[in-house]
Each structure stands twice: as C-alpha cells, then as structure tokens.
C-alpha cells in the first residue's frame, strides 16, 4: 500500500503533471489518492490554484465522490459490495459479519491500523455475488467463512 504521509512538494509535482489536461481535477485527485492513500485536505487549495478554480469547487468535487478518502487508510482496504444483486445473495449478513469481525464501521480502520472497510456499490461481479475487492483484487462468492479467511490472511 502507498505511504500515508504526504508532502507538499510531491503533491505539487503530481498536480503539475496533470494540470494541463482537459478536466484535470479528477485525474489529479486519483493520482493524489494513489500516491498518499487519500486526498489530504491541504491539497485542495493547491489544486484550486493550479486549475484556477475556487477552494469551494474543488471541495465540492472531492466530497461528491465517496471513493476519495479524507484520511489515510489502513495497510489494506476491503471494499464490500452493498448493491442490490449482492444484497439478494446474503450481502447484508456478510456486511454485518465483516463489521463485527473487524470491529470497524463503514469507512473505518481497524484498531491495529491493518485494514479499512469501505462500502462499494457494484463491482460488476453480480454473477459471483456477494463480491468484494481487497487491495484492488476482486473476490467473489463470499460467505462468512471465506470472508474471515480473507481478512485474517491480509491482516496477518
């Protein structure tokens, strides 16, 4: 996983690399999250200045997309699908099981900092519902047992 500590210099370099693209805000935000694991609040004025937007506008973009994090994540990120197909295949129970096992709510990180649990609305894996994604890798046909093995393995 990426380093959670951010630096202004690195952020500025990332912004500089994308600022001339058309519709540069989203590529910049993705690149920042890629580099730091989240979009540090202090980068918002830097993006605004570079793209000649206001802080308000960039703030509006960042907060509109749930995918952009406002704080560093744990060492691993589990995105559990909460959409209709997965719900119909037992997704709700799975979600409860995951929260209980990790002692973490949606968007929260386990006490030891090892894993962040996030909801996601459809990974396009409805045929293998219920589905999830661990550190960018899709997993399907989950049940409580397989989920436990998955997170325990990652946290080890």
């Amino acid at each position: 996983m990426p380093s959670p500590s951010w630096s202004k210099e690195r952020a500025e370099a990332i912004i500089e690399a994308h600022r001339r693209r058309e519709g540069a805000a989203l590529p910049i935000l993705h690149a920042l999250q890629e580099a730091f694991g989240y979009v540090p609040e202090d980068t918002v004025p830097l993006i605004a200045e570079a793209l000649n937007l206001t802080r308000a506008e960039v703030h509006g973009i960042v907060t509109f997309y749930h995918d952009f994090r406002h704080a560093p994540p744990g060492r691993h990120v589990l995105k559990l699908c909460r959409a209709e197909a997965c719900q119909s295949m037992g997704g709700d129970a799975l979600a409860e099981a995951a929260q209980a096992r990790l002692q973490a709510g949606w968007g929260e990180t386990t006490g030891d900092g090892s894993l962040t649990l996030e909801p996601v609305y459809c990974l396009g894996l409805c045929a293998c519902a219920p589905a999830a994604m661990l550190d960018g890798k899709p997993v399907g046909r989950l049940d409580a047992k397989r989920l436990a093995a998955l997170v325990d393995g990652a946290r080890r």
């Binding site: 004025p45 605004a48 000649n52 206001t54 308000a56 509006g60 907060t63």
Partner: protein, 948 residues
C-alpha cells in the same frame, strides 16, 4: 405604499428573435425560441410551483415541483428545463401533477423545522408559499427520521446568517455565486442525503472566498441565508426604488422599510445598470446613516482651536453668509469659493455652482472630479467631442476583447466587474495594463490573455507603442478613419507613432514590459473582434493623465472600435455622481453641459435665467484655491460633501491652505478630516433622506428617492438654498424636480430630462433631447459629436517624480472592495471586518532587502512627507513598486503623495510617488501630531458650556 413586488419568471429571458407559439392551460402564448415552459407560463400569467428556479440563474431542474404535462409526450417533465416548442399543449395543473407535487413537498417538509411563526422569513418564504400552493395538508413520513435540524448556524458574516437546518439544498445560492457574482465561493458538499451547502472547504462564510455581495441571500427561497437586519427588525412593509450612493456603477435598489426604519437594501431587477445585482457596499454598508458619529446639529466656532458650539440653523447659516460677505469686502470678490460634491445629487451640485457663480459672483467652483477624472473630460472632449464614456454597461455583452487599463473593477466597480467576468467566462479575451497583478489577471474561471505590468507612470509610452504596432503592421481600420476622422491629424499621428522611438522595442526599458508582450496585446486589441477599453484612475491620475486618455481614444479610432455595441472607450467613474457633478457645471471654466464660460451666448442665457451678471473669466481650481490660501489671497470656502484634507494629494499643503483661511464651511454627514479646519459645520443628509438624481459612469441618470425624512432637518439642496438666501440671492425651488427642470431648460444635452420621464423610463442616458427623446445608450454611432474624430499626438514625457537613492521605490495607490474612498461611510459600518487598516503591499524581494517581515510596521516616506503603516508582503506588486489604499485617516496615504499633477487639468499624480520604505516602531511624529490635533479640533462643547 406597498412593497415593490418583482415578478420572478423562474428562468432567464431568451435573447432569440424567432417567436414560438404554444398553449398553456388553454391560454395561447408566444415567446422567443429557447424560453422555458415555466417562463412562458408566467408570461401568460400562470405561476407554476417552483423552488430551485429563479430568473437570475439558469434552470437547474432539481426541486421536481415545477412538473407539467405535455399533450402527446410521456412523463411529467420539469417546466424550468423544458424549452417551448411550436404547438405544444401544456397543462400545469392536473390530478397527477397535484399528487406528485404534494409528495415532493412532504419530503421537503419532513426535514424542515416547523417554526414558521418564529422564523425570520415568515411572510417572505417561498417554501411556505409552495406548501400553500400545492395544498400540503399532512406529512405522511412524519418528522422522526434522519434530518438536518440540528445543523449549526454560521453567523460569521456581519450582515447575514447561514442556517443549514432550514436549507432545502436547491443550489440557488451556489448558482447565484457562480453565475451572477462570478465568485464561485459556494458549493454542495457531499451527495445524496448528506448534501449540504458549503462556503469554501466547509469554512465559515467570513473565512471563505465569499465577497459578501448578497447574491446568495437574494436567491435563497427560505430563511437559510437571510439578512441579520431582518432577523433583528422583522419583515419590511413598504419599499422605495432608489439609487446606490457608492460607486459610479449606479445600482438600483429597493429600500425596504418598516415605518421609517430601513430594514434592508435589495438590488432591483429593473435597474438598468445592475440588473438585480449588488456588492457588499450598496447591499449592506448603509449603517453609517444612523451611526452615532453622525452630526445632526449645525455648529460654529470662532477659531479652529475652539470647541464646536451647537447652534440653530439660522445662526449657522447666518454666520457662514456674514463671514463670506465680510471676507469679500475685505479681500475682494474672488477671495471665496465653493466645492461641489460628486457624492451629492445633480440638483445639489447644480445649486452649489449656481450659488458660487451667481451669489458669490465669481467662478471659484470646482469638484472632486478634479482629482479623479478631469483628464477624461478634457481628453475625450478633445478627441470625440464629449466629456463622457461612449457606451452603456450592457455593451460588454457584445465585446470580444476587453482591455482594462489602470482600473481594478473587482474592487472598485464590483457589480460591473461581475458582468465583465461573465462575458470573459463566455470566451471574451482580456488584456490588462496595470503595474499590479489585479484580481482580474487571474481569478477563478478568468485569466487575462496578456498582463502588461508596466512601471507606474509609463501608460503613455506603452499605449503609444501599441499604436505603433497597429500602424506599422497595417492593422488600422482605414475605412473607419477615412469616413469618420480628421485625415490630416490622422496622418500626422500615424507618422508620429510609427517613429522608431515609439516602437515596443524602444519603450521596453522605460516601461518594463517586454516588446513582444506589447506587440501581442496590440494585435489582439486590433484584430480580436469588438474591442472595448475600460479604464480608471490608473490612467488619469498622472502628470500625463490627459495624454493617456487621448492615447486610448486614438487606439479606439484607429481600429474602428467606436460607435456600436461591444466597443468603445469606457471610463469607470469612481463616485456615484462624478459624471453628474461634471455635467452640472462644477468646473471653474464650464457651465452645465460643458459649455465654456467665456461663451457669450451661454453666459447670456444664464444671466437672464438667474437675473445676475456673470463673470466670463474662469475661476480657481481646487489646487489653485489652496495655493492662493497659502499666499493669503483666498480666505473662505464652502465645501459640500468632500473631505479634501484626506482625499487630496500632499496633505501638508492642503492643511496649510485650510489653516490659512478665515472661514471654512463644511457640509457633511460627519466631522471629517477637513472639518478639523472648519469654522461652520452644516450637517448634511444621506442619499436616503432626499430626492434627486445621480448620473453613473454610462451617463445614466437614475432617480434617487427620499425614503425617510432628513435626520438633521434639511436635505442638502435646502441647505444651499438657505445659504444663498442669507447671501441675498434667493433661490425658489419647492422640490428637486424643479431644479432638474431648470437644468433641462438651460442645458441642451439634458433638454428632454424630467422627473416624469425618469419615473416612466426608469432612467435615461444623456444626451436626452428632441433628437434622442429616450436617451443615448451608445454614442458617436454615425458620426462623432465634434464632427470628425481627432487624433492627437501623444508624446511621452516622463514624470518629474523619479526614483533615486533616497526614494528608490514607486508608490501607487488604490481602493479595496469593502471600503469606499476616504472611508467616511464604510469605516462606520461592519465592513471594517474585511479591512480595518491600510496596509503597504511590498514585493518579497524589496521586503527582504529592508528586513521587513509580513505585518511589521514600516515608515513610508517621500519628499512630501512620511507616514507609517503595516506591511503586507506579496508578489502582486513588481519589485520596485509598493501599493497602498487610502481609506483610513490614521494612515493618511496622501501625506506622502506630491503636488505634481496633470499638465492639462491639474489632476494630481496620485499614482506615482518616489518613496522609501523602512522598518519603524509605529506611527510617525506627524501621525501623532495629527491624532492630537484631530482629537482637539473635534471637541463639541457640552450644552451648558456653550450657554455660558
């Protein structure tokens, strides 16, 4: 007198010419193509329920209340986002629509406080109205679900509150901030149920990018964004349409009243200058009218070291008159004079100059335009034949290239700047000539194509170099020049500008602007389509101010950018009525309508009208009056609404002149700085307390209407009449409209102006006469007023004010959004939260060299004097240039400015002063001395003491 209710059509008008006919609820209606069904319905008199739509912003389609049914089309489209089409048959009220609307309202109300009776918007709430309109009778969802009712109120802005608990997230505020104001300070934070309006990055409004223009408050349909004055005093019950008394934009406002208490000022949609927009000054900064510092009783004193003594109007007026007559008997008829005010009405200004010419019997009358746009008057009269700008503000909507020279519209003329920014967002190009990186150079969604950061004092060199490029690269509009201008003068001028010494390469060193940049800017101006020049005091307040105005006029003529919408030469005039005060004959050499006083026919006209003999020799200008006072031949001065001790250059010289006079009569709202040297104080009235007219920068004559009685008993025009009467020259007017009638009778460009016409038309732009009965938005359409346009050779002569070892930096001065000029009014409002002191902007390089840190006290010294203030380190100014504002009397930036002035008009060279900046410990000796003097001379004797 009820509240003036304006119709909200829901969506902006379409500019299309093609008409479309359709049927709405059985009514046939024809509207321009592109009109929304919602607006068409309103035109037909049918109001479709709505929440997120308002006609100041584009349709958004989010509230789902304005649904309609269209015959032959499926579904229930939103009428705000659906354009009309030929032959549509629309129903706005069906059972299905009723059900849908009630359902939507139930959802809104399930998450809204049920506190209508104690809500500040009670009686002026669109949510409340819509609940009534859709027949809401119950909320099936209950009120126990998730809600926003505990969201915390933001009261950081001094003038309005933001209560997110009452917000329905219609985004009207966000869109108004973007589309109307162009600031983009607001956004929607989050999405779905979590959506909320956010200033900046979820900051308090005051700390965000918000400029407090009030557009969001205006757009809000609920009590979410509401004026604190309404929260405190309740809803207004009647309103009067009037004109703002701050800058030269001349915005129309509804003064909304409860009894004689002003509750709020609301921008008026029908205002031709502002079209329903406002800025922080006009919208909110009117509290000075009732400030405790306001003087409400006339006062006199023998010597300026005495305390003031409150007296009756009769005694004060009598004292002024007898002193003026004594001085004239002792020192001669020319030993007294008057200064008219660009803050007062046309009628009041006309009376003061009439008083001077007819009752004083001389022409010693001048006005503060002397120190701002007198070069505009002179320069444009010489080249075009009229002392005024050529366009209306609406012209900017047709402009392709905007060139801003020595002006800072976002601070100085904010409402017009918003319109300019809108046009720039639509794709117009921008060229900025300014020593400072003003906001327009780069501000969200606006970026100048070229910024020419010229050294202060080199306007003429750069403008002439632009002309060089236009002439030598074959960019002259030859047909325009041939048909419209004097050809001999053009040829001489073309030959002059084509000389190598006027090339961009030759002036690069003097101006500090690269030749390539000058060339590129000139090419864009000449070839970019409709090009318009907007300029301000950065052009006029120089030793070559008049030359620079003529250089601008030359550029416009050479490129054919005159005589149609979208082009022209547009001086952004500073004060609400500076155009008017000039029009009204405030200058010592001119009668109203810019007719020279040596002209026998004009003089004869006024002699027969006024029944006196008039002097045919021009009188003294303000600087000459002060010079003559210092040398002892000028002894008495009547000043209406102007603070020359703070606003005029070289304060030492001004105050020496005032101190040398035997009778200074001040007519003002407050004991201003000049009053420190006065013997008679006549309390003035605010623009809320009188009838009259102001003329804005686009020559538009707007009505000023009395909304409350003068708090001190008399309107300013009545005071002048009383003084004239006491001087033995009675003036008989019962109402300012009769003064305007006299102006119209005696002034050809105003011949068609009357209060009846102004009330009927809303406003008119002069010339208004038989040839143009409803006024003239764009001038010089088929020919110049002077006949043919005259090119004038603009030889660059550097100012004598030069930097050297003792004074190595150049100081230039300006204004800031929240404060107005000397701040007599705005300093007495909550606007001080944005600007509580003047700061010195200095480049990091110059600051470092001097060991100055941000916020440090520094001394600012020139050969004229020294003051001190705190430093603000910024690269907005170039190395070698420093900048400050002149809003605060304790800084007195004009202690530093010098006596140099424009060669033609004596307009002071405020914009260039050689200075040195050094770290200091605090106020200078002069400032301490002035503070003492100021405290001493402002004493008002207690009534008992006065009686003794």
């Amino acid at each position: 007198m009820p509240l003036v209710q304006e119709i909200d059509f829901g969506t902006p008008p379409s500019k299309a010419e093609k008409m479309v006919s359709l049927t709405i609820d059985g009514f046939a209606v024809s509207v321009p193509e592109g009109t929304s069904i919602m607006r068409a319905a309103m035109e037909a008199g049918v109001q479709v329920p709505k929440l997120c739509a308002t006609d100041s912003v584009d349709a958004f389609g989010s509230c789902r209340l304005c649904l309609v049914e269209i015959q032959g089309r499926a579904g229930t489209p939103a009428s705000c986002t659906t354009p009309v089409a030929p032959g549509l048959v629309v129903s706005t009220q069906t059972d299905r629509l009723k059900q849908l609307r009630r359902g939507v309202m139930e959802l809104y109300i399930s998450d809204h406080p049920l506190d209508c009776l104690t809500c500040a918007a009670n009686g002026d709430c669109e949510l409340q109205d819509m609940a009534g309109a859709v027949g809401l009778r119950e909320v099936r969802y209950g009120y126990a679900g998730d809600n926003h009712l505990t969201a915390v109120k933001d009261e950081s802005n001094p003038y309005f509150t933001f209560d997110p608990a009452k917000c329905i997230v219609c985004s009207r505020c966000v869109r108004a901030c973007e589309e109307v104001q162009g600031t983009f300070a607001l956004t929607i934070d989050g999405r779905g149920f979590a959506s909320k309006v956010s200033a900046g990055m979820a900051e308090p409004f005051l700390e965000s990018e918000c400029v407090s223009c009030g557009a969001c408050v205006q757009a809000c349909p609920t009590a979410t964004l509401i004026e604190k004055s309404v929260i405190e005093s309740g809803q207004p019950e009647h309103s009067v349409v009037t004109t703002c008394a701050y800058c030269g934009v001349g915005c129309s406002f509804k003064a909304e009243m409860r009894g004689d208490e002003l509750i709020r000022m609301v921008p008026y949609k029908d205002g031709k200058a502002n079209h329903g927009h406002s800025c922080v000054k006009g919208r909110f900064a009117w509290g000075y009218a009732t400030h405790r510092d306001r003087i409400l009783k006339p006062m006199i004193r023998e010597k300026i070291t005495d305390p003031w003594r409150e007296v009756s109007w009769e005694e004060a007026i009598g004292r002024a008159a007898s002193e003026f007559r004594r001085i004239q008997e002792t020192y001669g008829r020319s030993a007294i004079g008057g200064i008219t005010s660009s803050r007062c009405t046309n009628e009041e200004t006309f009376l003061v100059q009439k008083l001077v010419r007819a009752a004083f019997g001389n022409n010693n009358v001048d006005t503060c335009a002397r120190v701002c746009h007198s070069p505009t008057g002179y320069g444009l009269k010489t080249t075009f034949g009229t002392s005024a700008g050529t366009q209306d503000f609406d012209s900017v909507d047709h402009t392709d290239v905007i060139m801003v020279v020595g002006a800072n519209p976002t601070d100085g003329h904010p409402v017009f700047a918003s319109r300019m920014k809108k046009r720039l967002r639509e794709g117009a190009k921008l060229i900025v000539l300014d020593p400072r990186r003003i906001d327009l150079v780069r501000t969200p969604h606006v970026e100048a194509t070229y910024h020419l950061p010229l050294r202060p004092g080199t306007n003429v060199a750069v403008l002439t170099a632009m002309a060089h490029v236009i002439v030598t690269e074959g960019l002259v509009d030859e047909r325009f020049v041939r048909e419209r201008c004097e050809l001999d003068e053009f040829r001489d001028w073309a030959g002059f500008v084509a000389e190598e010494r006027n090339s961009p390469e030759a002036v690069e060193k003097t101006s500090g602007v690269s030749a390539e940049l000058i060339r590129a800017a000139a090419r864009l101006y000449a070839t970019g389509g409709n090009a318009a020049i907007y300029y301000g005091l950065g052009v006029t307040e120089h030793s070559q101010g008049t030359t620079a105005v003529m250089a601008i006029a030359n550029l416009a003529m050479a490129t054919g950018n005159i005589g149609r919408p979208g082009v022209g030469v547009n001086p952004l005039r500073g004060q609400n009525n500076v155009q008017g005060s000039c029009d009204m004959g405030s200058f010592p050499h001119e009668f109203s309508g810019y007719r020279h006083i040596s002209d026998d026919a004009t003089r004869a006209l006024f002699e027969s009208l006024w029944g006196v003999t008039l002097d045919g020799e021009p009188g003294l200008r303000i600087p000459n009056m002060l010079d003559a006072a210092v040398t002892g031949s000028f002894k008495g001065l009547y000043i209406q609404g102007e603070d020359i001790a703070q606003s005029d250059p070289d304060t030492h010289h001004v105050t020496a002149g005032l101190e040398a006079m035997e009778c200074v009569v001040i007519q003002d709202l407050f004991l201003n700085e000049t009053a420190n040297f006065a013997h008679v104080f006549l309390p003035g009235s605010t623009f809320l307390e009188k009838d009259g007219t102001f003329t804005n920068a686009e020559r538009r004559i707007n009505l000023v209407r009395k909304v409350m009685a003068p708090r001190q008993g008399m309107a300013d025009w009545e005071i002048t009449i009383a003084l004239s009467e006491a001087l033995g020259f009675p003036m008989r007017y019962r109402h300012p409209s009769e003064i305007m009638d006299e102006i119209a009778r005696s002034t050809p460009t105003f011949a068609g102006v009357s209060y009846e016409k102004l009330a009927a038309e809303g406003s008119v732009q002069w010339p208004c006469n038989d040839k143009a009965p409803t006024g003239t938005p764009v001038m010089h359409i088929n020919g110049f007023v002077r006949g043919r346009g005259k090119f004038v050779i603009t030889e660059y002569v550097p100012t004598d004010e030069r930097t050297g070892p003792r004074f190595p930096l150049l100081l230039t001065t300006g204004r800031i959004l929240s404060q107005y000029n000397v701040g007599a009014q705005t300093r007495r409002t909550e606007n001080v939260v944005w600007h509580e002191e003047d700061r010195l902007e200095i480049h990091p390089h110059d600051a470092e060299q001097r060991g100055v840190r941000d916020g440090d006290w520094v001394s600012l010294a020139s050969r004229a004097g020294a003051t001190s203030l705190r430093a603000f380190i910024t690269d907005r100014v170039a190395p070698g240039v420093v900048y400050t504002t002149f809003h605060h009397p304790m800084t007195q930036a004009n202690v530093v400015t010098t006596e140099y002035s424009d060669w033609a008009t004596n307009c002071p060279e405020y914009k260039v002063t050689a200075v040195q900046v050094m770290p200091s410990n605090g106020p200078t000796e002069w400032q301490e001395h002035y503070r003492e003097l100021s405290e001493k001379t402002r004493r008002i004797a207690a009534p008992a003491e006065a009686a003794e």
